[in-house]
C-alpha cells in the first residue's frame, strides 16, 4: 500500500466515523420524545465519547504505518508532559470527587479526565507500534524505568495508607464517600501520586 492509498483509507475511515456520528446525533436529538431517560447532555456526551474513542483507535491503527510515523518521538518533554497531565487530571478529579461528589458522576467529569489523560498514552502506543516493538523499555531509558518502579512502590504504600484513613473516617461517619465515588477517589489519588512521584524522581538529581 503506497502513501496515497493510505491517505485514501484514512479519509474513508474518517468519513465513516463522521457519518456514524451524524446518524447517532440525529437519533439522539430526534426520535420520539420520552422513549429514553437520557437527557440531551447525556446523549451528546455518549456520542462524543464514542467518536473520540473511535478516532483514537483509527489513529492508532493507521498512523504508525504512514510516513508521519517518522516524526513520532518519545523524548524527555513527552515523558514530563505526560506526567504533568497526570498530576493535573488527578488533582482536578480528586478535588471534584472530594467536594462535588454527585457533580462528578452527573457531568461525567471522570470520563472527560480519563479521555484527556488517555489520549497522550494513545500517542505512546502509536510510538511503540511505529517502532514495531511491544516493549516499553525500548522507548524509555533506564533511569525513567527506575523512576517509574520507585514511583509505583511509593504509590502502592501511599494509596494503601490514604485508603485506610478514608475507611476509618468513613466508618466513624466523619467523612463519607458514597457508592461508586470510592472508585473515583481511588483512581484519582493513584493517578495523582503516581504522576507526581514519577516526575519527582525524574527531576531529582
Amino acid at each position: 500500500m503506497n502513501e496515497f492509498q493510505k491517505w485514501q483509507m484514512i479519509l474513508k475511515i474518517a468519513l465513516i466515523i463522521a457519518i456514524i456520528g451524524v446518524i447517532a446525533l440525529g437519533s439522539a436529538t430526534g426520535g420520539k420524545q420520552g422513549k429514553s431517560d437520557d437527557s440531551i447532555y447525556e446523549k451528546v456526551f455518549k456520542i462524543s465519547a464514542f467518536l473520540i474513542v473511535m478516532l483514537a483507535l483509527v489513529m492508532y491503527l493507521v498512523l504508525p504505518n504512514t510516513k508521519i510515523a517518522k516524526h513520532f518521538k518519545m523524548n524527555e518533554s513527552l515523558f514530563v508532559v505526560s506526567h504533568i497531565l497526570g498530576i493535573i487530571c488527578g488533582g482536578i478529579g480528586l478535588i471534584a470527587t472530594f467536594f462535588w461528589q454527585q457533580m462528578v458522576v452527573k457531568t461525567h467529569l471522570f470520563e472527560f479526565l480519563i479521555v484527556f489523560f488517555g489520549l497522550i498514552f494513545v500517542y505512546w502506543a502509536m510510538i511503540l507500534k511505529a517502532r514495531k516493538t511491544a516493549k516499553i523499555s525500548d522507548m524509555l531509558d533506564e533511569k525513567q524505568i527506575d523512576n517509574i518502579i520507585r514511583a509505583g512502590a511509593v504509590t502502592l504504600y501511599a494509596v494503601a495508607c490514604i485508603m485506610l484513613i478514608m475507611f476509618f473516617l468513613s466508618s466513624n461517619r466523619v467523612f463519607t464517600l458514597e457508592g461508586k465515588i470510592w472508585f473515583l477517589f481511588y483512581f484519582f489519588i493513584t493517578l495523582l501520586i503516581y504522576s507526581a512521584s514519577t516526575l519527582f524522581y525524574f527531576k531529582k538529581t
Binding site: N75, E76, F79, D141, E142, K143, Q144, K203, K204, T205
Partner: protein, 70 residues
C-alpha cells in the same frame, strides 16, 4: 561505597560536549546523564559500556569506586 565517575571531564575533553548531545548520542535522556554525573544514579553495565565505547576509553577509566570513610 559508591560509584564515582569522570563523565563530566570526558565530555569536556570531547569537544566540550553538552549533556544533551551526549544523551542524544547514547540514546538516553539529558536527565540521566545529569544524574550519573551527580552520582545520584548508577548506570547499568550496558550503559557504562556504551559510554566507555563512545569516549574510546575503558569502563574503569570513566567509573571508579569511592570508599566511604568509616
Amino acid at each position: 561505597m559508591r560509584l564515582g565517575n569522570n563523565l563530566r571531564r570526558c565530555r569536556f575533553d570531547h569537544n566540550e560536549m553538552s549533556q544533551e548531545e551526549l544523551a542524544s548520542a547514547i540514546g538516553v535522556t539529558r536527565q540521566t546523564i545529569h544524574s550519573i554525573e551527580k552520582e545520584k544514579f548508577v548506570p547499568s553495565t550496558l550503559l557504562a559500556l556504551k559510554l566507555a565505547r563512545f569516549f574510546g576509553k575503558t569502563v574503569d577509566e570513566i567509573f571508579y569506586i569511592i570508599e566511604d570513610d568509616k
